[in-house]
Amino acid sequence: MTPWSTLLALAGDATGSWLAQLKNLATHPWVVNLVAMAVILGANAAFFAVITLLERKGLGRIQNRPGPNRAGPFGILQPAADGIKMITKEDIVPERADQLVHFLAPLVMLAPITLALAVLPYGPQLVAVNLDAGVLFFFAIGTAGELAAFMAGWSSRNKYSLLGAMRAIAQMISFELPLVLSTLVVIMMTGSMSLVEIVAGQGSAAWGLPGWNIFTPWGLAGFLIFLTAAAAESNRSPFDLPEGESEIIGGFMTEYSGFKYAVFFMAEYFGMFAVSGLGITLFLGGWHAPFPFLEWVPGIFWYVAKLVALVFGFIWIRGTLPRLRADQLMNFSWKFLMPLALLNFATAILWHATAGWQFPGAWLCRWLVCFGIVAGAFTGLGRAMLRRRQVGPRIYRYAS
């Protein structure tokens, strides 16, 4: 029962039969599903508009400039202006491009991401689809982005597009492993792949502290790994090599203009929302309030607050860090994040095995031991990676 139908049920009982009929119509699965779709899409599109403005303003402030402030008071109409500009721009398709693939690529990029938004629990009752294998669904859907990037890059018949697409695919494949490994820890500790159950497992608070996964050593390390890999998966800076404006023009989006470009842009932001939503669900307690006495505030509020905080974190990181080089990116993924994620997995197993400790201070002891392992691994791997930092001629062993 969604709150929507509950409300209608109440109303139908109170007043006459025509309302009851309306209730029957409104609780029909098709109607409920359509309403859920419209709400999810509409809310995310509105959020997209707000976030683009927030990002431009925030980046501006980080660079000591005011950001867009012309369209409307304080520039709040800037997203509308951008949208009108994008829609009315000429849609240019290169003459030698593969017309059909070029047309399909933005759609293949956007459609799966909107599917991923459907399985996230936005509140105690606000779950459009509760899949038993929700996390797996999320990652299965995410793979379509790689294919879409390839389609866009290849069909444009432009070397920069192809280079960007190759970079995008290599990056997405490399960072998918740490991403999955960091979520695997949560799945193992919760014992479920359903996002609803994962959120439900984080509700219990001990000593006034929230029971979120991030407040455990494996959860903290997992969250940091997840955040890094998520930034790379959604092509956010400092991992925005696939777009790298200063190197390869616009990456696989070089030959796109007008509304198709807007669709790519939208897909990128929706991807960021989806992956942030997954992070919230897995590590930050989903729609749970931070403290028990705040539970009267609706869950959707906490979800949106956490989402805004995470997205602002992404914007902050974008304003701070320079772009990585391609080989640094690969080294970072395979030689740092992967071993760290595996060690984090081992830490989670230790945490699980020591759950039976009963002596006084056992919890603190467990916490410190596990945190020590993770922090030691982080320091050691980081030192090793920094020591390896030599630049020399590159050898192309596979592409000859």
């Binding site: 980080i62 660079q63 000591n64 400039r65 005011p66 902050w316 982080f378 980081g382 030192r383 920094l386």
Partner: protein
């Protein structure tokens, strides 16, 4: 410990972020159409012609065409005035500068022996007419010496002093030429 550099960077950007709200002095940008940046005196855009007094008759230009020859992108076009008999006068009938070609190199100013062409500071030259609007003719180029003083006070004063000295020397020369003229003529006659 690795990773602290990132935190340091994040701290710096956060300081910028919050600082920009309570300290407007941090802003590196200005709101252009409303407020404009103060120029240095040496800032230059495109050339203009200086006149003293009358905007047409007072032009210092003698249409010697040195600047036309020296201009690297060849953006200056000069036609001298002629009198009824076809004799060239020391005055430009047409003086055009195509500012879409001009690169602001200031060579015309360097070579002008009469200090008649100088660099302007006007930069808002955008126009809807792509061809006609960017060719400045004689009347558009002519600007008074007072304007020159206004935009470059130091340089204009130096130029004025130099011109005055030149004029004085000319007058002295003319005066000298008037009185000992017969003697000079006589000595010249004797020579061959």
């Amino acid at each position: 410990m690795p990773g602290f550099g990132i935190i340091k960077g994040l701290k710096e950007t956060a300081r910028n972020f919050f600082g920009s709200y309570h300290d407007p002095g941090r802003f590196v940008t200005i709101q252009y159409p409303e407020e404009k940046r103060e120029h240095h005196e040496n800032y230059r855009s495109f050339p203009f012609l200086v006149y003293d007094g009358d905007p047409v008759k007072g032009l210092r230009c003698v249409s010697c065409k040195i600047c036309e020859k020296e201009c690297p992108p060849q953006c200056i076009y000069i036609v001298p005035e002629q009198d009824g008999s076809g004799k060239l006068l020391k005055f430009p009938r047409i003086f055009d500068i195509d500012v879409s070609v001009c690169m602001g190199c200031q060579i015309c100013v360097e070579v002008c022996p009469f200090d008649s062409i100088k660099m302007d500071q006007e930069f808002e030259v955008s126009t809807a007419d792509r061809f006609g609007g960017l060719i400045l003719n004689r009347s558009k180029l002519a600007k008074s010496n007072e304007y020159y003083h206004q935009i470059r006070p130091a340089e204009a004063t130096a130029v004025d002093a130099q011109l005055a000295a030149e004029r004085e020397r000319q007058q002295a020369k003319a005066a000298a030429a008037k009185s000992p003229a017969p003697a000079a003529a006589a000595t010249r006659e004797k020579k061959p």
